[in-house]
């Protein structure tokens, strides 16, 4: 559980979410349960089973390489937390 508290803090920091202590504890508990369930799944031997992501393999539609627009830049930027011209503005990130 303690480990999940740390993970919850780390993910919250990465996602720039500010969680109060009560919310943080609730999310850490949920995360703990999810991880426990995942650990339960580890018990299944899948060493010789290919990963499966879909019920139907190789039946996906493709599309042709032609441009089309359904939305304007303004519509898309409407949900931007902050903007400068048509740039999105985010807190400084330097790798």
């Amino acid at each position: 559980m303690h480990e999940q508290t740390d993970v919850a803090s780390h993910v919250a920091a990465l996602a720039l979410l500010h969680l109060d202590a009560q919310r943080h504890a609730a999310l850490a508990q949920q995360l703990h349960e999810i991880v426990q369930y995942a650990h339960k799944l580890y018990e299944v031997d899948v060493a010789h089973v290919d990963p499966m992501s879909h019920g139907v393999v190789a039946a996906v539609p493709w599309r042709t390489d032609t441009c089309a627009r359904d939305t304007t830049v303004e519509q898309l930027l409407h949900s931007a937390p902050a903007r400068e011209g048509t740039f999105y503005v985010v807190p400084p990130v330097i790798e």
Binding site: L14, A15, D50, P51, M52, S53, H54, V56, V57, A58, A59, V60, P61, W62, R63, T64, D65, T66, C67, A68, R69, D70, T71, V73, L76, L77, E84, G85, T86, F87, Y88, V89, V90, P91, P92, V93, I94, E95
Partner: protein, 473 residues
């Protein structure tokens, strides 16, 4: 003599030449207003679903086949998870479990020897957006986010910085020949990271590697790797160990700088993308794409040497540019003289393109034009100076050399009497030069030949002019 063997593997990102992004209909063109080429799919809006661009898959398949990879019956996409503002979905759609090609090989010419550099895999993925860092904020432009790329990963088969550069140049040529990408390193459509390690000569296990990023030119690839080899050699010579880390090439200082160590490396938690099913690559499709592959640069270069007797230098120079080989092959289809065609292309045509800063493919000249010019020269119909004049006009206007020669009456004067009359005029007009030649100053003969050529407006046969002048002096 170093006590160590250098071991290099490259990861090369190649932007595919498509009109639209990998999973949405946004344009991939360069230089638009920030975020003008975005939509709910490439911005990762909830509920927006990706649909794969057929052309991107076909180009990736073409590249994988050109690199002699084994193609799986089904290829699929995986999510590579990471948090960074250049990736609005917080994951990149890439290929992990079932890449489009594995176990390929590239035949690379290092001078006179040819070596096989193995390709570990080729996979398809989407590019990230672009960030502009300011002191207290970062600006995000997602026009490039979702642009299709292939990543070509080599086995650690390269043994020097120079070879790595030569390999990359020849890989770029293959990509260009196949029409998979425009391969412009300066615009970021070809990018390269290098994994470099050293091991004692004779050892079979690999040493600790460092990864070098941010090498944006062929020169940078060579410089970055050479620096890293020297840095690691110095460490090992001092009895220290190489730390596994990612380093950045700093072009201005010509050094590599540590970015992050292995301990800080991210776990990308790859998993199959549930929004995208697998793509079946039938034998019929693979055969169709393989059969449509063009002759690749090294094979073409060897053919030019063997079939046409061109020198290694001429063959290499011609095959270094797709547009040049296209013109050469077109000209040779008209049974032209190979050496003359090579000389015209590598000499005056390239010089004209360079002087006018014009890509060869935009010039109005065709292979048939070059063949005509070569034939006019071989038959003695026009002289070299006239050939230059005709070629210049063809390059400017696209007029055929045969038409230019006919309409402007540029046919070479072969008539001895006509040339002799011009020789007489020149001898009379330049008594001092005549005296110089007679007193043994042979340079003056060149001057007199030039005067006769000038009097004939370049049309006299220069060999005949020489002969007649010598006879009279």
């Amino acid at each position: 003599m170093s006590r160590y063997e250098t071991v290099i593997g490259l990861e090369v990102h190649v932007e595919l030449k498509t009109q639209t992004k990998l999973f949405c209909r946004c344009a991939t063109s360069f230089g638009a207003q920030p975020n003008a080429h975005t939509c709910p799919v490439c911005l990762g809006h909830p509920g927006a679903l990706p649909v794969t661009n057929e052309q991107a898959v076909l180009l990736a398949l073409r590249a994988a086949l050109a690199l002699q990879c084994t193609i799986p019956p089904v290829t699929s996409f995986d999510r590579k998870n990471y948090f960074y503002p250049d990736s609005p979905k917080a994951y990149q759609i890439s290929q992990f479990a079932h890449p489009i090609g594995r176990n390929g090989v590239v035949e690379v010419a290092f001078g006179r020897t040819t070596e096989r550099i193995r390709i570990h895999q080729v996979h398809l993925e989407e590019d990230a957006g672009k960030l502009i860092h300011e002191p207290y904020r970062s600006l995000v432009d997602l026009n490039r986010a979702g642009t299709p790329l292939i990543e070509i990963v080599t086995e650690p088969d390269l043994r020097s910085a120079e070879h790595a550069k030569m390999f990359l140049e020849q890989l770029r040529d293959i990509i260009l020949y196949c029409g998979v990408s425009d391969g412009k390193m300066e615009e970021g459509s070809l990018r390269c990271d290098a994994n470099v390690s050293l091991r004692p000569i004779g050892a079979t296990t690999l040493g600790t590697k460092t990864e070098i990023k941010n090498m944006n030119s062929f020169r940078a690839v060579q410089g970055g790797i050479a620096y890293e080899v020297a840095r690691q050699t110095a460490l090992l010579d001092r009895g220290e160990r190489v730390v596994q880390q990612t380093r950045r090439w700093d072009e201005a200082q010509s050094i590599t700088i540590a970015m992050r160590s292995k301990e800080q490396a991210q776990d990308y938690r790859y998993f199959a993308d549930p929004d995208l099913g697998g793509i079946a690559l039938s034998d019929q499709l693979i055969t169709q794409v393989r059969d449509a592959l063009p002759e690749l640069p090294l094979a073409k270069r060897q053919r030019y040497e063997q079939q046409y007797g061109l020198s290694e230098y001429d063959a290499a120079s011609l095959t270094a540019h797709v547009a040049l080989t296209k013109l050469f092959d077109e000209a040779m289809a008209h049974a032209a003289d190979a050496k003359t065609v090579a000389n015209v292309l590598l000499g005056d045509v390239c010089a004209y393109a360079n002087a006018h800063d014009a890509p060869l493919s935009t010039l109005p000249i065709t292979g048939a034009h070059i063949a005509q010019l070569a034939a006019l020269l071989a038959q003695g119909t026009i002289s070299q100076p006239i050939a230059k004049k005709v070629l210049k006009q063809t390059l400017q206007t696209g007029e055929a050399p045969n038409d230019i020669v006919a309409t402007q009456g540029l046919t070479q004067i072969q008539d001895s009497d006509a040339i002799d009359a011009l020789v007489t005029q020149v001898i009379t007009a330049h008594p001092q030069s005549v005296a110089d030649v007679r007193s043994g100053k042979t340079q003056a003969l060149g001057f007199l030949v030039g005067q006769v050529m000038r009097a004939s407006q370049g049309k006299a046969n220069p060999a005949l002019v020489n002969e007649l002048l010598k006879k009279r002096l």
